[in-house]
């Protein structure tokens, strides 16, 4: 009854009632924990009790060689992922974009996006089998066809990172292709027609019109790729366990957080490490925002 009266008199009250779950959820499950994460990072905390630690958790982490190795692994895999994924998805998107028949381009989009709806966990399990480290493995059988020696792939510390990246490229390619395509379709047709009149070849058009027009998309993809690289967890956990084996080559920052949080129950250090990841991600996100603003 009261509600009804309010309905008639004040739509702001009803409006905020409708917004209540959203606001409550954001405050409780996003804003509060990010502040709380910082507070916990200042304690030696075992999940139940905490003792004031000041910045010593951060001090420990920044002097921990394991942390630096995790950072290096994370960073290297991020670079490799972008280095392979960006050009490859751009080429695929350009090719799909040049297809005239909408049915056929839709079919290719659907196929390339297919791995994306499956989980990284499922992908990891299948690729552990494809990359089976003996001559029995399917990838190694393929190498054998070309007269190459079998590789250790995911079980060789030298190749584990690149193998994971190959898998992630397979898994994420379709997503990037769709983003590129959205960008490609926003380029004005007039530009190409003008170039055609001037006698520019298709390849020249691609080099001098398409690629320069893609600058904002490239920036967006680099930033998103970097952010996602810092979140890398599921596949390295399934393939390498909590230690990111073989030889710790797959030990990423999120595994560092996970190990301190849920193996040694040192929540202070885990929170501090996750806060460092948060700050890195935040910097990249803000970079993205400013770039979008400049574009307008």
């Amino acid at each position: 009854m009261i509600l009804k009266k309010l309905n008639l008199s004040n739509k702001n009250v009803v409006g905020y009632l409708f917004l209540l779950p959203l606001i409550l959820g954001v405050l409780t499950f996003s804003l509060y924990p990010i502040i709380e994460a910082f507070r916990i990072s200042l304690y030696h905390h075992n999940g139940v009790r905490g003792v004031w630690a000041g910045l010593s958790n951060y001090d420990f982490i920044l002097h921990d060689s394991t942390f630096w190795r995790a950072l290096r692994n994370t960073f290297m895999m991020g670079i490799m992922g972008l280095g392979i994924g960006l050009p490859l998805s751009f080429i695929v998107a350009s090719l799909v974009n040049s297809i005239v028949r909408p049915g056929m381009s839709m079919l290719f989009k659907a196929i390339y996006f297919l791995p994306n709806v499956t989980s990284t966990i499922a992908a990891s399990i299948v690729f552990m089998l494809l990359f089976y480290p003996t001559e029995k493995g399917i990838a190694n059988s393929l190498l054998n066809v070309f007269g190459l020696e079998p590789l250790g792939w995911l079980s060789d510390p030298r190749y584990a990172q690149i193998s994971v990246i190959l898998m992630d490229t397979w898994h994420g390619l379709g997503y990037s292709v769709l983003i590129w395509l959205a960008g490609l379709q926003s380029i004005s047709r007039d530009l190409y027609e003008a170039a055609e009149v001037d006698g520019a070849k298709k390849l020249q058009q691609w080099l001098y019109i398409t690629i320069p027009s893609m600058k904002p998309v490239i920036f967006f993809m680099v930033v998103m790729g970097t952010i996602n690289a810092f979140k890398r967890f599921g596949e390295v956990f399934v393939i390498g366990g909590p230690d990111g084996n073989p030889g710790g080559s797959l030990f990423t920052l999120m595994l560092y957080v996970y190990r301190y949080g849920f193996y040694t129950f040192d929540f202070g250090k885990a929170a501090a490490a996750s806060y460092i990841i948060f700050i890195i991600i935040l910097v990249f996100t803000l970079l993205n925002f400013t770039a979008f603003k400049n574009k307008d």
């Binding site: 009803v14 996003s30 090719l95 299948v126 948060f278």
Partner: protein, 295 residues
């Protein structure tokens, strides 16, 4: 004379251009088809080994796409060893709860922001969108401690409660509602309907395309999520599907599950998302294309 020759020349040019265009197009289709094969191969291998009776204990060698002895034995062992039906049921329970709560919250909020135009709505939207910058990875530790305090570890409340805010969905819902006419609400209010009724009877009914998108996106999110359930659930009876198949590996002594069973379990874990993709790929692909700014 010269006119004719330039005409023929032009025609010849057009012809050769057409021919080279045709060549280029076929080449492009060929390259994309080869790429598609590479994309499909892991699925084919997975399915092949899951159906291969000789893969029960070890890896079939040399690999063949069509197994010599096709059987469903691997699926039977997988169902028995992973408690697959339990995993399905658990994940569906999480999915149904999370999807209904998050979709409803997003639509309610989207309606308030779009059609009720509450005072300060723009600022609220902006602030809420800003929290997208907070990655779930950074809030895991405090959330774990919070749910532990609330005795909600190993319960699905740890999934349902955070679902009450679905920021990205709210953004999509608001945008969709913006495209619906506001006059419908005014007319209904004059006829004596209250706001909630306007929302459910009129705008919700008109919002089915965006409802579908939100439901599909959250389904994929819940079904594929791993880190959050890994933290919140440690009782195998409560595991969701990704935990079930991921930890299958570590449960065996050698750290390697038999390939046939492993692949069968993986096949079963992706069948639901593949079905969703098969029927609703248009929604999924559109939502990605429109929302590159996601996250």
């Amino acid at each position: 004379m010269s006119q004719i020759s330039t005409g023929t020349q032009a025609r010849l040019q057009v012809q050769s251009k057409r021919r080279s265009d045709l060549f280029l197009r076929s080449f492009i289709i060929l390259v994309l088809t080869a790429g598609s094969v590479l994309i499909i191969v892991p699925f084919v291998v997975m399915l092949s080994i899951s159906l291969d009776q000789d893969a029960v204990f070890e890896f079939p060698f040399p690999f063949r796409i069509i197994p010599e002895h096709i059987s469903l034995d691997n699926f039977k062992t997988a169902i028995a060893n992973t408690n697959m039906m339990r995993l399905y049921l658990n994940t569906f329970m999480v999915a149904v709860g999370v999807i209904s709560i998050s979709t409803f919250s997003a639509l309610l909020a989207g309606y308030a922001l779009s059609k009720l135009k509450v005072a300060g709505g723009k600022i609220v939207l902006l602030l809420v969108l800003a929290t997208l910058m907070i990655p779930g990875e950074a809030t895991l530790i405090p959330l774990f401690m919070l749910f532990k305090k609330l005795n909600m570890i190993n319960t699905y409340w740890a999934f349902y409660l955070p679902a009450i805010s679905y920021v990205f969905g709210t953004f999509l819902a608001k945008q969709f509602m913006d495209s619906l006419p506001g006059e419908l609400r005014e007319a209904a209010i004059i006829d004596g309907a209250n706001e909630f009724r306007c929302f459910t009877r009129i705008y919700l009914a008109l919002s089915m395309p965006i409802v579908a998108t939100l439901v599909i996106l959250s389904f994929l999110g819940v079904w594929n999520s791993f880190l959050f359930p890994l933290i919140m659930l440690n009782d195998p009876a409560k595991y969701t599907i990704q935990l079930g198949i991921a930890l299958l590996k570590s449960r065996t002594s050698s750290g390697e599950a038999p390939p046939g069973m492993n692949m069968a379990a993986t096949v079963m874990s992706i069948v639901p998302v593949l079905l969703v993709y098969l029927f609703f790929q248009k929604y999924i692909i559109q939502s990605v294309a429109h929302t590159g700014i996601k996250e």
